[in-house]
């Protein structure tokens, strides 16, 4: 049942060479990367207010999952969800308009960075809340749309929340097609995982008889085929926890990174962006330039739009 119980320690040496990606995978990774960078720049320049949480360093998770999830599947995202949204819809204009409160926003600017709803995609910023909701959706899917699943993204910090366990219990008891994707970036805002999570994610999944799979790689070509049979099993009503060991490159939100510089440097050692640029410069450079330009265009175009209008009584 449990694929991997003991998480592998972080590699001490530079990670292995990345394989050459398909164009669309690399383009999506780069779109998310430049979108997130632009957001931080816009906040720094005072063009955006409120708050945001970027997924810098974690882009490969939704990119790896993208073709494994179909239009009939539900995706529940969290506070760090821009990558999840972009991997699902590729809609940088709608997302930026949502964050900036401009016309054409996904939810008219009411939801903002953390509360997106579109078709079968829903996010919320409160940790753990989505799991029971995803369980309810999964119960419906099991009954009336067999083969579809509910995928919910959480972090390592989310495992402190009781709602997670209520949902895992229901998922195991009721054979729900629930895929829990954990982006374990080793730090919950400012608290290292070792200081906030007793035991392991794998051990907690095992306690419910729920399968667990650890992904330490950032190579989409490696990750995807390994996940394919596991996702297929979820579709047959076997809930699953897939834990990605990832490295958060940026702050939790903005300017609130309490890690020592060497920890951030160590995280950067794992950054697929620099690694891919090094390993495949000929493939990287043109697509990187294209993604950068695309995001710049999105920013220019969306910034010029008028504010979003909406009525609570509409």
């Amino acid at each position: 049942m449990t694929e991997t119980l003991t998480p592998a320690p972080a590699p001490a040496t530079r990670p292995a060479r990345l394989s050459r990606l398909a164009d669309d995978d690399l383009a999506l990774l780069l779109l998310i990367r430049h979108f997130e960078r632009e957001l931080l720049r816009l906040y720094g320049a005072g063009e955006l207010n409120g708050t945001t949480h970027t997924c810098l360093g974690q882009e490969h998770v939704p990119v790896a999952l993208r073709p494994l999830l179909g239009p009939g599947d539900f995706v529940f995202s969290n506070h760090r969800g821009h990558g999840h949204y972009l991997a699902r819809f590729g809609d940088a204009h709608g997302l930026l308009a949502e964050i900036m409160g401009r016309e054409g926003a996904v939810c008219a600017g009411v939801g903002g960075s953390q509360h997106l709803h579109r078709d079968r995609y829903l996010s919320t910023g409160v940790q753990g809340e989505s799991l029971p909701v995803a369980a309810g959706v999964a119960l419906h899917l099991r009954r009336t749309e067999p083969g579809a699943l509910a995928c919910v993204y959480i972090g390592d910090g989310t495992w402190g929340e009781g709602a997670v366990y209520e949902a895992l219990n229901l998922a195991a008891l009721w054979d729900l097609p629930l895929l829990v994707v954990v982006e374990n970036n080793g730090i919950a805002q400012s608290t290292p995982t070792g200081a906030q999570l007793a035991g392991t994610v794998a051990g907690r999944a095992a306690a419910f008889g729920i399968g667990h799979h650890l992904v330490a790689s950032a190579d989409v070509n490696e990750i995807r085929p390994a996940l394919e049979p596991l996702v297929a099993r979820v579709r047959r009503g076997r809930p699953m926890v897939v834990e990605f060991r990832v490295h958060r490159l940026g702050p939790h939100s903005k300017g609130d990174d309490t890690r020592p510089p060497e920890a951030v440097r160590a995280a950067r050692e794992h950054d697929w962006y620099a690694r891919y640029a090094h390993d495949h410069p000929d493939h990287f450079q043109p697509l990187d330039a294209r993604a950068r330009a695309l995001v710049e265009d999105v920013v220019a175009e969306v910034s010029a739009r008028p504010p979003s209008r909406w009525s609570p009584c509409a």
Binding site: H117, T124, E129, V133, G136, A163, L170, W310
Partner: protein, 326 residues
Amino acid sequence: MTTLTMAKALNEGMRKAMEDDPKVLVMGEDVGKLGGVFRVTDGLQKDFGEQRVIDTPLAESGIIGTAIGLALRGYRPVCEIQFDGFVFPAADQIITQLAKMPMRSLGKLRLPVVVRIPCGGGIGAVEHHSESPEAYFTHTAGLRVVTCSNPADAYAMIQQAIRCDDPVVFFEPKRRYWDKAEVDTSGSADWLPLDRARVVRSGADATLLAYGPMVKTCLEVAAAAQEDGRSLEVVDLRSLNPLDLPAVVESVRRTGRCVVVHEAPVFSGYGAELAARVTEECFYHLEAPVLRVGGPSTPYPPSRLEDHYLPDLDRVLDAVDRAFAF
């Protein structure tokens, strides 16, 4: 017409709703085989099956969260929170998801979830079986909060709540579960809309505003006051959010005096909102300040002391006296 207890009226109302709409589900702790600790869901699992009447683990957050997920897919889940004091583990889902998701999505997502909560004291139970947490939920924008005071309303209101496309927190005054009355189960033509208050006794000299368990108490107060020559009007609010303010204002402007009665603590209780609204709307019609009768600011006491905690005939009559003496 048929004679039903309030518990049975709720049961019959849910049964009718489940017959009318296959998307109606009942879920909660021990609602199936046991039929709920107050037997409000008695027999529903036997008749509608385990797919539609779901016994859940002890997991209030999980129950409401799962109900939200089901509602997203077109179901109309009716969740039973076994006792008032058990709703707090579900507060996160109710306040942060259920109440807010429709707004965040500009109404594209509707969540027709009913959260049934047996509420209030008077049955000799313990603290977390006797609370009146309505103000937490009336304070939360995005929820309808209603409560029934009699079997006929219970039968109609539970069906109206289930049909409603908004989330509804439905308080059931547990000490009135066994009260019997005639209930017309023939149709919905005579039902008052869910968000409307009802004048349950007409009077000319003062208005008693009550809901849930205190309506019956206030009717007894009005009968006793009649012997002293005072004519009290009793308004059963039924819907706490939205509040039927026009009905309240019409009554108080006519009588000139207003006493609010609830079991929950007076301090920051729902009565504070009523007092403020009545004062704003009826200032020049009032002969006395709006007075409030309710529980003290303590946790609900052990059952042997609950008669000291709960508003009763004497305490409400005393408030009425003060309103007249002002």
